[in-house]
Symmetry: C2
Subunit: 148 residues, 2 copies
């Protein structure tokens, strides 16, 4: 049964996404797009590479998410004056407008998800998952090759 943790986390994360997306379908924005926007909110002007590293996805994954957000007029790419290969990312005014409602939705979903957990248990959940993430994140940085 030792594979349970990985599958369990995967299932739970998927249910989270599904629930969030079901509630925000009208807005046309998904859970993961919203997440990207919240990161961007605190790092305006960041380049794609560092942002990809920050949220631990591959650059190409981020690139495509940005494509869609630009298409939806939520994010703006501006040329980096210091490096002609790079883009700097900025939120549009429209993104700012969306943030409030999304936040309320996310808060409500989170409350429902941790229903029945004490505050201490919720804290511990976060702590434990963060430790697991750190373990896996370290592995990824080692590129898996050295492990065999």
């Amino acid at each position: 049964m030792s594979e349970t943790i990985g599958f369990l986390l995967n299932d739970t994360a998927r249910l989270f996404r599904r629930s969030f997306n079901a509630r925000t379908r009208d807005s046309g924005i998904t859970a993961l797009q919203w997440r990207l926007i919240t990161y961007l909110k605190r790092h305006e002007g960041i380049r794609q590479g560092p942002l990809a590293e920050l949220i631990e996805v591959e650059p190409i994954t981020l690139s495509r998410m940005v494509d869609r957000l630009v298409e939806a007029e939520l994010v703006e790419r501006r040329a980096d004056p210091a490096d002609r290969r790079a883009w700097q990312l900025y939120l549009t005014a429209r993104a700012g407008e969306l943030l409030g409602g999304m936040r309320a939705t996310a808060d409500a979903l989170t409350s429902e998800a941790i229903e029945g957990l004490t505050a201490a248990e919720a804290d511990q959940l976060i702590d434990l998952v963060e430790r697991v993430r750190a373990n896996l994140s370290r592995r990824i940085c080692q590129k898996e090759d050295e492990i065999v």
Copy 2:
């Protein structure tokens, strides 16, 4: 910060998948395909619908995973003699051969993921995530509509 749990779970699950896939690339089988096979191992002859419900994905999602596994000659669809709309799913001999190696890989990855956690903490992690999953799963079954 209350959206953290959802994102945290999502990130961690993704890192899990990535790590697993990096180790099993040679075999040509992904983490999620392997998971489906382990379920099938214990429910041979099950139909697609009930299996989709069991692993809590949409029927169409399962249908496509089965498509690929059939293509890879790991799963076999047999017509249900009692219902001409339905398929019964069976593992092939080839799937059985793969299971052993995969299991070892999954076990190793799990150990690394929970490195630094005591046995009690690992148990608690599973317990807490399962409770969250149950909360979300209940929501999904209510179809989200009644919640507004």
